[in-house]
Protein backbone atom coordinates (compact mmCIF):
# COMPACT_ATOMS: atom_id res chain seq x y z
CA UNK A 1 0.00 0.00 0.00
CA UNK A 2 1.33 3.40 -1.03
CA UNK A 3 0.15 6.93 -0.47
CA UNK A 4 0.82 9.33 -3.30
CA UNK A 5 -0.40 12.60 -4.70
CA UNK A 6 -1.56 12.00 -8.26
CA UNK A 7 -2.22 14.66 -10.88
CA UNK A 8 -5.45 14.38 -12.84
CA UNK A 9 -4.67 13.69 -16.49
CA UNK A 10 -8.28 13.83 -17.62
CA UNK A 11 -11.85 13.59 -16.48
CA UNK A 12 -14.52 12.75 -19.02
CA UNK A 13 -18.20 11.95 -18.93
CA UNK A 14 -18.58 8.52 -20.51
CA UNK A 15 -22.23 7.82 -19.77
CA UNK A 16 -25.19 9.32 -17.92
CA UNK A 17 -23.77 10.49 -14.61
CA UNK A 18 -20.67 8.33 -15.12
CA UNK A 19 -17.17 9.75 -15.31
CA UNK A 20 -13.80 8.34 -16.26
CA UNK A 21 -10.97 9.76 -14.18
CA UNK A 22 -7.42 9.23 -15.36
CA UNK A 23 -4.60 9.83 -12.92
CA UNK A 24 -0.86 9.86 -13.37
CA UNK A 25 0.30 7.37 -10.74
CA UNK A 26 3.69 5.91 -11.60
CA UNK A 27 4.14 4.35 -8.15
CA UNK A 28 0.71 2.79 -7.79
CA UNK A 29 -0.47 1.91 -11.30
CA UNK A 30 2.07 -0.85 -11.98
CA UNK A 31 1.22 -2.60 -8.70
CA UNK A 32 -2.53 -2.90 -9.17
CA UNK A 33 -4.05 -6.36 -9.51
CA UNK A 34 -7.59 -6.81 -10.94
CA UNK A 35 -10.28 -6.29 -8.29
CA UNK A 36 -8.17 -4.07 -6.07
CA UNK A 37 -9.28 -0.59 -5.15
CA UNK A 38 -8.00 2.85 -4.23
CA UNK A 39 -9.02 5.06 -1.37
CA UNK A 40 -9.17 8.62 -2.64
CA UNK A 41 -9.10 11.83 -0.66
CA UNK A 42 -11.49 14.15 -2.45
CA UNK A 43 -9.98 17.38 -1.18
CA UNK A 44 -8.20 19.00 1.73
CA UNK A 45 -11.33 20.22 3.50
CA UNK A 46 -13.27 18.30 6.14
CA UNK A 47 -16.46 18.10 4.08
CA UNK A 48 -16.44 15.32 3.05
CA UNK A 49 -14.11 14.09 5.76
CA UNK A 50 -13.32 10.51 4.82
CA UNK A 51 -11.73 9.09 1.71
CA UNK A 52 -13.89 7.43 -0.92
CA UNK A 53 -13.11 3.94 -2.26
CA UNK A 54 -13.08 3.21 -6.00
CA UNK A 55 -12.19 0.08 -7.92
CA UNK A 56 -9.43 0.36 -10.46
CA UNK A 57 -10.99 0.40 -13.91
CA UNK A 58 -7.82 0.08 -15.96
CA UNK A 59 -4.12 0.77 -15.78
CA UNK A 60 -1.80 1.50 -18.63
CA UNK A 61 1.81 2.19 -17.72
CA UNK A 62 1.61 5.00 -15.20
CA UNK A 63 -2.03 5.75 -15.98
CA UNK A 64 -4.54 4.79 -13.36
CA UNK A 65 -8.17 4.87 -14.46
CA UNK A 66 -11.29 5.01 -12.29
CA UNK A 67 -14.90 4.96 -13.36
CA UNK A 68 -17.38 6.60 -11.04
CA UNK A 69 -20.98 7.53 -10.59
CA UNK A 70 -22.03 10.81 -9.00
CA UNK A 71 -24.13 9.74 -6.00
CA UNK A 72 -23.34 12.16 -3.16
CA UNK A 73 -21.16 15.06 -2.13
CA UNK A 74 -17.85 13.20 -2.46
CA UNK A 75 -18.40 12.02 -6.00
CA UNK A 76 -20.01 15.35 -6.83
CA UNK A 77 -16.82 17.15 -5.82
CA UNK A 78 -14.73 14.56 -7.66
CA UNK A 79 -16.64 15.30 -10.86
CA UNK A 80 -15.53 18.94 -10.56
CA UNK A 81 -11.83 18.12 -10.71
CA UNK A 82 -9.86 19.40 -13.63
CA UNK A 83 -6.69 18.45 -15.39
CA UNK A 84 -3.69 19.19 -13.20
CA UNK A 85 -5.58 19.05 -9.90
CA UNK A 86 -3.91 16.59 -7.55
CA UNK A 87 -5.57 13.79 -5.60
CA UNK A 88 -4.14 12.04 -2.58
CA UNK A 89 -4.53 8.32 -3.30
CA UNK A 90 -3.98 5.26 -1.10
CA UNK A 91 -3.51 2.03 -2.98
CA UNK A 92 -3.55 -0.53 -4.28
CA UNK A 93 -5.80 -1.89 -1.55
CA UNK A 94 -7.59 -5.13 -0.87
CA UNK A 95 -7.47 -8.69 -2.11
CA UNK A 96 -7.62 -9.05 -5.91
CA UNK A 97 -9.79 -11.54 -7.80
CA UNK A 98 -8.24 -15.01 -7.96
CA UNK A 99 -7.60 -15.28 -11.67
CA UNK A 100 -4.82 -17.88 -11.53
CA UNK A 101 -7.08 -20.68 -10.41
CA UNK A 102 -6.43 -23.53 -12.88
CA UNK A 103 -9.87 -24.94 -12.18
CA UNK A 104 -11.63 -22.70 -14.72
CA UNK A 105 -11.27 -21.92 -18.38
CA UNK A 106 -14.15 -19.48 -18.94
CA UNK A 107 -14.46 -16.40 -16.82
CA UNK A 108 -18.04 -15.18 -16.55
CA UNK A 109 -17.96 -11.50 -15.65
CA UNK A 110 -21.21 -10.22 -14.19
CA UNK A 111 -21.66 -6.53 -13.45
CA UNK A 112 -24.59 -4.44 -12.30
CA UNK A 113 -24.44 -0.68 -12.72
CA UNK A 114 -21.06 0.70 -11.73
CA UNK A 115 -20.07 -2.86 -10.85
CA UNK A 116 -18.60 -2.76 -14.32
CA UNK A 117 -15.72 -0.71 -12.90
CA UNK A 118 -13.25 -3.54 -12.13
CA UNK A 119 -14.09 -5.54 -15.26
CA UNK A 120 -11.78 -4.03 -17.90
CA UNK A 121 -8.59 -4.58 -15.87
CA UNK A 122 -9.87 -8.05 -15.02
CA UNK A 123 -10.65 -8.83 -18.66
CA UNK A 124 -7.19 -7.89 -19.81
CA UNK A 125 -5.52 -10.08 -17.22
CA UNK A 126 -7.83 -13.01 -17.97
CA UNK A 127 -7.11 -12.80 -21.67
CA UNK A 128 -3.39 -12.67 -20.95
CA UNK A 129 -3.79 -15.82 -18.90
CA UNK A 130 -5.47 -17.47 -21.88
CA UNK A 131 -8.92 -17.68 -20.33
CA UNK A 132 -12.12 -17.32 -22.29
CA UNK A 133 -14.19 -14.37 -21.14
CA UNK A 134 -17.92 -13.69 -21.33
CA UNK A 135 -19.36 -10.47 -19.97
CA UNK A 136 -22.87 -9.85 -18.69
CA UNK A 137 -23.80 -6.26 -17.96
CA UNK A 138 -26.90 -4.91 -16.28
CA UNK A 139 -27.78 -1.24 -16.23
CA UNK A 140 -30.74 1.06 -15.64
CA UNK A 141 -30.91 2.05 -19.28
CA UNK A 142 -28.91 2.38 -22.45
CA UNK A 143 -27.57 5.79 -21.46
CA UNK A 144 -25.89 4.51 -18.34
CA UNK A 145 -24.01 1.65 -20.02
CA UNK A 146 -20.23 1.61 -20.24
CA UNK A 147 -19.08 -1.22 -22.49
CA UNK A 148 -15.56 -0.24 -23.53
CA UNK A 149 -12.56 -2.54 -22.92
CA UNK A 150 -14.80 -5.53 -22.48
CA UNK A 151 -15.26 -8.63 -24.62
CA UNK A 152 -18.22 -10.81 -25.51
CA UNK A 153 -20.66 -8.42 -23.94
CA UNK A 154 -24.33 -9.23 -23.35
CA UNK A 155 -26.62 -6.61 -21.93
CA UNK A 156 -29.75 -6.29 -19.84
CA UNK A 157 -31.41 -2.98 -18.99
CA UNK A 158 -34.20 -2.26 -16.53
CA UNK A 159 -36.19 -0.41 -19.18
CA UNK A 160 -35.23 -2.60 -22.13
CA UNK A 161 -33.65 0.35 -23.97
CA UNK A 162 -30.72 -1.95 -24.80
CA UNK A 163 -30.49 -5.74 -24.76
CA UNK A 164 -32.76 -7.79 -22.56
CA UNK A 165 -35.38 -6.00 -20.53
CA UNK A 166 -34.65 -7.26 -17.03
CA UNK A 167 -31.83 -7.81 -14.62
CA UNK A 168 -28.39 -9.09 -15.31
CA UNK A 169 -29.34 -12.26 -13.42
CA UNK A 170 -32.26 -12.80 -15.82
CA UNK A 171 -29.73 -12.42 -18.61
CA UNK A 172 -27.41 -14.92 -16.99
CA UNK A 173 -30.25 -17.41 -16.51
CA UNK A 174 -31.13 -17.12 -20.17
CA UNK A 175 -27.57 -17.51 -21.37
CA UNK A 176 -26.90 -20.52 -19.18
CA UNK A 177 -30.23 -22.05 -20.19
CA UNK A 178 -28.94 -22.16 -23.76
CA UNK A 179 -25.64 -23.72 -22.70
CA UNK A 180 -23.29 -23.53 -19.73
CA UNK A 181 -19.77 -22.41 -20.67
CA UNK A 182 -16.96 -24.91 -20.24
CA UNK A 183 -15.50 -24.95 -16.71
CA UNK A 184 -16.82 -21.54 -15.78
CA UNK A 185 -16.05 -19.22 -12.85
CA UNK A 186 -18.11 -16.18 -12.10
CA UNK A 187 -16.61 -12.81 -11.12
CA UNK A 188 -19.34 -10.44 -10.06
CA UNK A 189 -19.53 -6.85 -8.92
CA UNK A 190 -22.55 -4.68 -8.26
CA UNK A 191 -25.17 -3.77 -5.69
CA UNK A 192 -25.69 -6.13 -2.79
CA UNK A 193 -29.08 -7.59 -3.91
CA UNK A 194 -27.62 -8.38 -7.32
CA UNK A 195 -24.56 -10.07 -5.80
CA UNK A 196 -26.85 -12.08 -3.57
CA UNK A 197 -28.82 -13.26 -6.59
CA UNK A 198 -25.66 -14.09 -8.51
CA UNK A 199 -24.31 -16.03 -5.52
CA UNK A 200 -27.54 -18.04 -5.37
CA UNK A 201 -27.32 -18.62 -9.11
CA UNK A 202 -23.75 -19.89 -8.76
CA UNK A 203 -24.74 -22.26 -6.00
CA UNK A 204 -27.60 -23.54 -8.12
CA UNK A 205 -25.30 -24.25 -11.04
CA UNK A 206 -22.47 -25.22 -8.68
CA UNK A 207 -20.11 -22.76 -10.30
CA UNK A 208 -17.26 -21.14 -8.39
CA UNK A 209 -18.06 -17.49 -7.85
CA UNK A 210 -16.13 -14.51 -6.55
CA UNK A 211 -17.90 -11.29 -5.69
CA UNK A 212 -16.53 -7.81 -5.16
CA UNK A 213 -18.49 -6.17 -2.36
CA UNK A 214 -19.37 -2.55 -1.66
CA UNK A 215 -20.31 -0.69 1.47
CA UNK A 216 -19.26 2.11 3.74
CA UNK A 217 -15.60 2.22 4.68
CA UNK A 218 -13.83 4.28 7.30
CA UNK A 219 -10.16 3.81 6.55
CA UNK A 220 -9.90 1.30 3.70
CA UNK A 221 -6.75 -0.19 5.23
CA UNK A 222 -7.91 -2.40 8.06
CA UNK A 223 -7.42 -0.11 11.05
CA UNK A 224 -10.95 1.02 11.91
CA UNK A 225 -12.91 -2.28 11.86
CA UNK A 226 -15.68 -0.30 10.20
CA UNK A 227 -16.42 -2.56 7.22
CA UNK A 228 -17.54 -5.98 8.44
CA UNK A 229 -18.90 -8.54 6.02
CA UNK A 230 -20.82 -11.36 7.65
CA UNK A 231 -19.43 -14.82 6.99
CA UNK A 232 -20.98 -18.26 7.10
CA UNK A 233 -17.94 -19.47 9.06
CA UNK A 234 -19.13 -20.25 12.60
CA UNK A 235 -15.64 -19.58 14.02
CA UNK A 236 -15.21 -16.17 12.43
CA UNK A 237 -18.33 -14.05 12.24
CA UNK A 238 -17.00 -11.11 10.24
CA UNK A 239 -14.35 -10.41 7.66
CA UNK A 240 -13.19 -6.90 6.81
CA UNK A 241 -14.33 -5.76 3.41
CA UNK A 242 -11.27 -3.56 2.91
CA UNK A 243 -8.60 -6.00 4.01
CA UNK A 244 -10.04 -9.48 3.59
CA UNK A 245 -11.99 -8.30 0.53
CA UNK A 246 -13.47 -6.54 -1.35
CA UNK A 247 -13.38 -9.80 -3.33
CA UNK A 248 -14.72 -12.88 -1.59
CA UNK A 249 -15.61 -16.41 -2.52
CA UNK A 250 -19.40 -16.03 -2.67
CA UNK A 251 -19.93 -19.17 -0.60
CA UNK A 252 -18.14 -17.70 2.40
CA UNK A 253 -20.60 -14.81 2.68
CA UNK A 254 -23.77 -14.92 4.77
CA UNK A 255 -26.16 -13.29 2.27
Amino acid sequence: MLQTSCPVLSLTAVAENVFLLVLDAPEIAPLVRPGQFLNVRIDETSDPLLRRPFSVYRTEGNRLELLFNVVGRGTHALAEKRKGDRLDVLGPLGVPFTLDDPGFTTAVLVAGGLGVAPMPITTRELLLKGKAVRTFLGARNKGSLVTTHLVQVEIATDDGSEGLRGTVVDLLERAFASGVPARPKIFACGPHPMLKAVAAFAVRFDIPCEVSMEGPMGCGIGICQGCPVELTNPAKKYALMCKDGPTFDARTIRW
Partner: protein, 322 residues
Protein backbone atom coordinates in the same frame (compact mmCIF):
# COMPACT_ATOMS: atom_id res chain seq x y z
CA UNK B 1 14.59 13.29 22.29
CA UNK B 2 15.64 16.48 20.57
CA UNK B 3 14.48 17.28 17.09
CA UNK B 4 16.33 19.60 14.78
CA UNK B 5 13.88 21.98 13.20
CA UNK B 6 14.53 25.30 11.53
CA UNK B 7 18.05 25.34 12.90
CA UNK B 8 16.89 24.95 16.51
CA UNK B 9 17.09 22.01 18.80
CA UNK B 10 13.58 21.48 20.09
CA UNK B 11 12.88 19.19 23.00
CA UNK B 12 9.82 17.16 22.03
CA UNK B 13 9.99 14.32 24.55
CA UNK B 14 8.17 13.92 27.83
CA UNK B 15 7.98 11.41 30.65
CA UNK B 16 5.07 9.68 32.27
CA UNK B 17 6.45 7.94 35.35
CA UNK B 18 9.28 5.69 34.16
CA UNK B 19 8.33 5.92 30.50
CA UNK B 20 10.01 8.31 28.11
CA UNK B 21 7.95 9.26 25.05
CA UNK B 22 9.94 10.63 22.14
CA UNK B 23 7.27 13.09 21.20
CA UNK B 24 3.83 14.21 22.26
CA UNK B 25 1.84 12.50 19.52
CA UNK B 26 0.27 9.12 20.16
CA UNK B 27 -2.20 7.33 17.92
CA UNK B 28 -5.57 6.78 19.60
CA UNK B 29 -7.10 3.46 20.52
CA UNK B 30 -9.18 1.91 17.77
CA UNK B 31 -7.79 4.14 15.06
CA UNK B 32 -4.47 2.43 14.35
CA UNK B 33 -5.24 -1.25 14.87
CA UNK B 34 -2.47 -2.97 16.83
CA UNK B 35 0.22 -0.86 15.23
CA UNK B 36 1.19 -3.42 12.60
CA UNK B 37 -1.40 -2.66 9.91
CA UNK B 38 0.06 0.64 8.71
CA UNK B 39 3.67 -0.39 8.76
CA UNK B 40 4.16 -0.31 5.03
CA UNK B 41 2.86 3.24 4.72
CA UNK B 42 3.89 4.80 8.03
CA UNK B 43 7.13 4.82 9.99
CA UNK B 44 5.62 4.10 13.40
CA UNK B 45 8.98 4.73 15.03
CA UNK B 46 8.40 8.43 14.46
CA UNK B 47 5.30 8.41 16.67
CA UNK B 48 5.46 9.21 20.37
CA UNK B 49 3.43 6.12 21.09
CA UNK B 50 0.86 3.64 19.92
CA UNK B 51 -2.31 2.99 21.88
CA UNK B 52 -3.71 -0.40 20.92
CA UNK B 53 -7.29 -1.14 19.99
CA UNK B 54 -9.21 -1.87 23.22
CA UNK B 55 -8.38 -5.39 24.39
CA UNK B 56 -10.96 -7.55 26.10
CA UNK B 57 -10.50 -10.88 27.83
CA UNK B 58 -12.16 -12.88 25.07
CA UNK B 59 -12.04 -11.96 21.39
CA UNK B 60 -15.02 -9.83 20.37
CA UNK B 61 -16.64 -10.07 16.96
CA UNK B 62 -18.02 -6.56 17.16
CA UNK B 63 -21.38 -5.14 16.10
CA UNK B 64 -23.27 -5.98 12.92
CA UNK B 65 -22.83 -3.62 9.98
CA UNK B 66 -23.19 -0.74 9.34
CA UNK B 67 -20.65 0.27 11.93
CA UNK B 68 -19.69 3.68 10.66
CA UNK B 69 -21.27 6.68 9.03
CA UNK B 70 -19.78 9.97 8.03
CA UNK B 71 -21.31 13.12 9.49
CA UNK B 72 -20.45 16.76 8.88
CA UNK B 73 -16.78 17.11 9.83
CA UNK B 74 -16.82 13.82 11.70
CA UNK B 75 -18.00 10.25 11.85
CA UNK B 76 -20.05 7.99 14.05
CA UNK B 77 -18.85 4.52 14.90
CA UNK B 78 -20.27 1.55 16.71
CA UNK B 79 -17.51 -0.94 16.17
CA UNK B 80 -18.52 -2.83 19.28
CA UNK B 81 -14.94 -3.19 20.48
CA UNK B 82 -14.17 -5.81 17.86
CA UNK B 83 -10.78 -7.11 18.90
CA UNK B 84 -8.71 -10.26 18.87
CA UNK B 85 -8.72 -10.59 22.67
CA UNK B 86 -5.82 -10.20 25.04
CA UNK B 87 -4.40 -13.71 24.50
CA UNK B 88 -4.04 -13.43 20.75
CA UNK B 89 -2.77 -9.89 21.26
CA UNK B 90 0.02 -11.25 23.41
CA UNK B 91 0.91 -14.05 21.03
CA UNK B 92 0.36 -12.37 17.66
CA UNK B 93 0.80 -8.63 18.07
CA UNK B 94 3.08 -8.02 21.02
CA UNK B 95 6.15 -9.63 19.43
CA UNK B 96 5.99 -7.03 16.67
CA UNK B 97 5.27 -4.20 19.08
CA UNK B 98 8.39 -5.13 21.07
CA UNK B 99 10.47 -4.39 18.00
CA UNK B 100 9.21 -0.87 17.43
CA UNK B 101 11.02 2.11 18.83
CA UNK B 102 8.01 3.89 20.28
CA UNK B 103 5.98 3.62 23.45
CA UNK B 104 3.27 0.97 23.51
CA UNK B 105 0.14 1.60 25.53
CA UNK B 106 -2.28 -1.28 25.93
CA UNK B 107 -5.89 -0.10 26.02
CA UNK B 108 -8.22 -2.30 28.07
CA UNK B 109 -12.00 -2.67 27.83
CA UNK B 110 -14.28 -4.95 29.83
CA UNK B 111 -17.81 -5.48 30.99
CA UNK B 112 -17.05 -6.23 34.64
CA UNK B 113 -14.42 -4.96 37.02
CA UNK B 114 -13.05 -8.49 37.30
CA UNK B 115 -12.55 -8.60 33.55
CA UNK B 116 -10.60 -5.32 33.61
CA UNK B 117 -8.37 -6.87 36.26
CA UNK B 118 -7.98 -10.14 34.41
CA UNK B 119 -6.88 -8.47 31.19
CA UNK B 120 -4.43 -6.28 33.04
CA UNK B 121 -2.99 -9.21 34.92
CA UNK B 122 -2.34 -11.11 31.72
CA UNK B 123 -0.55 -8.10 30.28
CA UNK B 124 1.40 -7.58 33.50
CA UNK B 125 3.20 -10.82 32.76
CA UNK B 126 4.46 -9.47 29.44
CA UNK B 127 7.39 -7.32 28.44
CA UNK B 128 6.96 -4.59 25.89
CA UNK B 129 4.01 -2.73 27.34
CA UNK B 130 4.86 0.72 28.60
CA UNK B 131 1.56 1.79 30.07
CA UNK B 132 -2.15 1.02 30.26
CA UNK B 133 -5.03 3.11 29.08
CA UNK B 134 -8.38 2.07 30.50
CA UNK B 135 -11.45 2.50 28.35
CA UNK B 136 -14.30 3.02 30.81
CA UNK B 137 -16.83 3.84 28.06
CA UNK B 138 -18.12 0.29 28.23
CA UNK B 139 -21.48 -1.07 29.34
CA UNK B 140 -21.40 -2.65 32.76
CA UNK B 141 -23.24 -5.96 32.41
CA UNK B 142 -23.95 -6.03 36.15
CA UNK B 143 -25.75 -2.69 36.02
CA UNK B 144 -28.04 -3.39 33.12
CA UNK B 145 -25.63 -2.06 30.58
CA UNK B 146 -25.16 1.31 32.20
CA UNK B 147 -21.88 2.77 31.06
CA UNK B 148 -19.09 2.44 33.66
CA UNK B 149 -17.71 5.78 32.55
CA UNK B 150 -20.82 7.76 33.44
CA UNK B 151 -20.69 6.58 37.05
CA UNK B 152 -18.07 8.34 39.14
CA UNK B 153 -17.85 5.64 41.84
CA UNK B 154 -17.52 2.88 39.23
CA UNK B 155 -14.80 4.72 37.39
CA UNK B 156 -12.95 5.26 40.66
CA UNK B 157 -13.38 1.63 41.65
CA UNK B 158 -11.95 0.35 38.37
CA UNK B 159 -8.99 2.65 38.87
CA UNK B 160 -8.43 1.51 42.44
CA UNK B 161 -8.57 -2.17 41.53
CA UNK B 162 -6.17 -1.81 38.64
CA UNK B 163 -3.83 0.44 40.61
CA UNK B 164 -3.40 -2.32 43.12
CA UNK B 165 -2.27 -4.65 40.36
CA UNK B 166 0.33 -2.70 38.43
CA UNK B 167 3.19 -0.27 38.80
CA UNK B 168 3.10 0.62 35.15
CA UNK B 169 1.57 4.02 34.36
CA UNK B 170 -2.20 3.79 34.54
CA UNK B 171 -4.15 6.16 32.32
CA UNK B 172 -7.91 6.36 32.63
CA UNK B 173 -9.69 7.37 29.44
CA UNK B 174 -12.72 9.43 30.35
CA UNK B 175 -16.00 9.76 28.51
CA UNK B 176 -17.21 13.27 27.65
CA UNK B 177 -20.85 12.26 28.05
CA UNK B 178 -21.10 13.53 31.62
CA UNK B 179 -22.03 16.85 33.19
CA UNK B 180 -18.69 17.55 34.88
CA UNK B 181 -15.78 15.55 33.52
CA UNK B 182 -13.50 17.16 36.11
CA UNK B 183 -15.32 15.30 38.89
CA UNK B 184 -14.39 12.03 37.23
CA UNK B 185 -10.82 13.17 36.76
CA UNK B 186 -10.53 14.05 40.44
CA UNK B 187 -12.02 10.73 41.43
CA UNK B 188 -9.53 8.71 39.40
CA UNK B 189 -6.68 10.92 40.56
CA UNK B 190 -7.64 10.12 44.14
CA UNK B 191 -7.89 6.44 43.24
CA UNK B 192 -4.29 6.42 42.07
CA UNK B 193 -4.37 7.01 38.31
CA UNK B 194 -1.20 8.41 36.78
CA UNK B 195 -2.98 10.32 34.03
CA UNK B 196 -6.31 10.77 32.30
CA UNK B 197 -7.08 10.69 28.60
CA UNK B 198 -9.74 13.19 27.55
CA UNK B 199 -11.82 12.33 25.60
CA UNK B 200 -13.55 9.29 24.18
CA UNK B 201 -16.37 9.82 21.64
CA UNK B 202 -19.58 11.81 22.12
CA UNK B 203 -22.83 9.88 21.84
CA UNK B 204 -24.46 10.64 18.50
CA UNK B 205 -26.91 9.27 15.99
CA UNK B 206 -27.75 9.36 12.30
CA UNK B 207 -30.86 8.30 10.44
CA UNK B 208 -31.52 7.23 6.91
CA UNK B 209 -34.63 9.14 5.87
CA UNK B 210 -35.25 6.78 2.98
CA UNK B 211 -35.45 3.61 5.07
CA UNK B 212 -36.42 5.48 8.28
CA UNK B 213 -33.86 3.40 10.10
CA UNK B 214 -30.90 4.40 12.19
CA UNK B 215 -27.82 4.18 9.99
CA UNK B 216 -25.86 2.30 12.64
CA UNK B 217 -27.02 -1.15 13.67
CA UNK B 218 -26.76 -0.04 17.31
CA UNK B 219 -28.92 3.07 16.76
CA UNK B 220 -26.44 5.40 18.46
CA UNK B 221 -22.67 5.49 18.14
CA UNK B 222 -19.63 7.51 19.05
CA UNK B 223 -18.92 10.81 17.34
CA UNK B 224 -15.30 11.68 16.54
CA UNK B 225 -13.29 13.82 14.16
CA UNK B 226 -12.78 17.56 13.64
CA UNK B 227 -16.43 18.27 14.45
CA UNK B 228 -15.83 17.40 18.13
CA UNK B 229 -12.57 19.31 18.57
CA UNK B 230 -14.10 22.35 20.31
CA UNK B 231 -15.86 20.08 22.82
CA UNK B 232 -12.68 18.07 23.46
CA UNK B 233 -10.64 21.23 24.02
CA UNK B 234 -13.16 22.52 26.56
CA UNK B 235 -13.14 19.16 28.37
CA UNK B 236 -9.33 19.10 28.45
CA UNK B 237 -9.29 22.65 29.77
CA UNK B 238 -11.83 21.82 32.46
CA UNK B 239 -9.93 18.67 33.46
CA UNK B 240 -6.45 20.15 33.45
CA UNK B 241 -7.54 22.87 35.85
CA UNK B 242 -9.07 20.32 38.21
CA UNK B 243 -6.30 17.74 38.66
CA UNK B 244 -2.55 17.59 39.14
CA UNK B 245 -2.00 14.41 37.13
CA UNK B 246 -1.32 14.86 33.43
CA UNK B 247 -4.09 15.04 30.85
CA UNK B 248 -3.74 13.48 27.43
CA UNK B 249 -5.82 15.42 24.92
CA UNK B 250 -7.90 13.61 22.29
CA UNK B 251 -10.61 14.73 19.90
CA UNK B 252 -10.57 15.91 16.33
CA UNK B 253 -6.85 16.60 16.10
CA UNK B 254 -5.78 16.68 12.47
CA UNK B 255 -2.82 19.03 12.31
CA UNK B 256 -0.08 20.58 14.38
CA UNK B 257 -2.10 23.69 15.17
CA UNK B 258 -4.88 21.57 16.65
CA UNK B 259 -2.34 19.69 18.77
CA UNK B 260 -0.76 22.91 20.06
CA UNK B 261 -4.22 24.14 21.04
CA UNK B 262 -4.59 21.06 23.25
CA UNK B 263 -1.17 21.57 24.83
CA UNK B 264 -2.02 25.19 25.61
CA UNK B 265 -5.33 24.09 27.13
CA UNK B 266 -3.39 21.85 29.49
CA UNK B 267 -2.65 18.55 27.74
CA UNK B 268 0.75 16.98 28.36
CA UNK B 269 0.45 15.02 25.14
CA UNK B 270 -2.21 14.31 22.53
CA UNK B 271 -3.65 11.43 20.53
CA UNK B 272 -4.62 11.42 16.90
CA UNK B 273 -7.68 9.30 16.13
CA UNK B 274 -10.05 9.69 13.20
CA UNK B 275 -7.43 11.66 11.27
CA UNK B 276 -5.54 8.38 10.77
CA UNK B 277 -8.37 7.17 8.57
CA UNK B 278 -8.07 10.23 6.38
CA UNK B 279 -4.29 10.01 6.31
CA UNK B 280 -2.47 7.05 7.89
CA UNK B 281 0.56 9.31 8.36
CA UNK B 282 -1.48 11.94 10.20
CA UNK B 283 0.30 11.34 13.51
CA UNK B 284 3.71 11.91 12.01
CA UNK B 285 2.53 15.01 10.19
CA UNK B 286 1.05 16.39 13.39
CA UNK B 287 4.36 15.78 15.18
CA UNK B 288 6.30 17.50 12.40
CA UNK B 289 3.95 20.48 12.35
CA UNK B 290 4.19 20.84 16.13
CA UNK B 291 7.96 21.03 15.82
CA UNK B 292 7.69 23.53 13.00
CA UNK B 293 5.43 25.67 15.19
CA UNK B 294 7.97 25.59 18.01
CA UNK B 295 10.79 26.48 15.65
CA UNK B 296 8.79 29.40 14.30
CA UNK B 297 7.89 30.62 17.77
CA UNK B 298 11.37 30.08 19.17
CA UNK B 299 10.25 27.49 21.69
CA UNK B 300 13.05 25.23 22.87
CA UNK B 301 11.02 22.84 25.01
CA UNK B 302 7.60 21.87 23.78
CA UNK B 303 6.69 21.15 27.39
CA UNK B 304 6.68 24.87 28.08
CA UNK B 305 3.47 25.08 26.08
CA UNK B 306 1.53 22.76 28.35
CA UNK B 307 -1.18 24.80 30.04
CA UNK B 308 0.44 28.00 28.76
CA UNK B 309 -2.88 29.40 27.66
CA UNK B 310 -3.17 33.11 28.28
CA UNK B 311 -6.75 33.38 29.54
CA UNK B 312 -6.78 37.15 29.53
CA UNK B 313 -10.31 37.50 30.82
CA UNK B 314 -11.15 36.41 34.31
CA UNK B 315 -14.40 34.88 33.08
CA UNK B 316 -14.54 31.19 33.91
CA UNK B 317 -16.20 28.37 32.06
CA UNK B 318 -19.30 28.65 34.13
CA UNK B 319 -19.69 32.40 34.21
CA UNK B 320 -20.07 32.68 30.50
CA UNK B 321 -23.57 33.32 29.33
CA UNK B 322 -23.69 31.22 26.27
Amino acid sequence: MHAQSGGNLIRTSFRLGPVEFKNRVLVASGTFGYGDECVSAVDVNRLGGIVTKSLSLKPREGNPPPRIVETTGGMLNSIGLANIGVHRFVSEKLPFLRTVDTAVIANIAASTIEEYCAVLEILEGEEGIDAYEINVSCPNVREGGLNFGTSCPMTAEITKQLRGRTRRPLIIKLTPNVTHISEFARAVEDAGADAVSVMNTLIGMALDVRTRKPVLSTVTGGLSGPAVKPVALAKVYETARAVKIPVIGIGGITNGRDAIEFLLAGALAIQVGTANFVDPAAGIKVADEMKAYCAEQGIADMGSLVGALDARTGVSVLDSWL
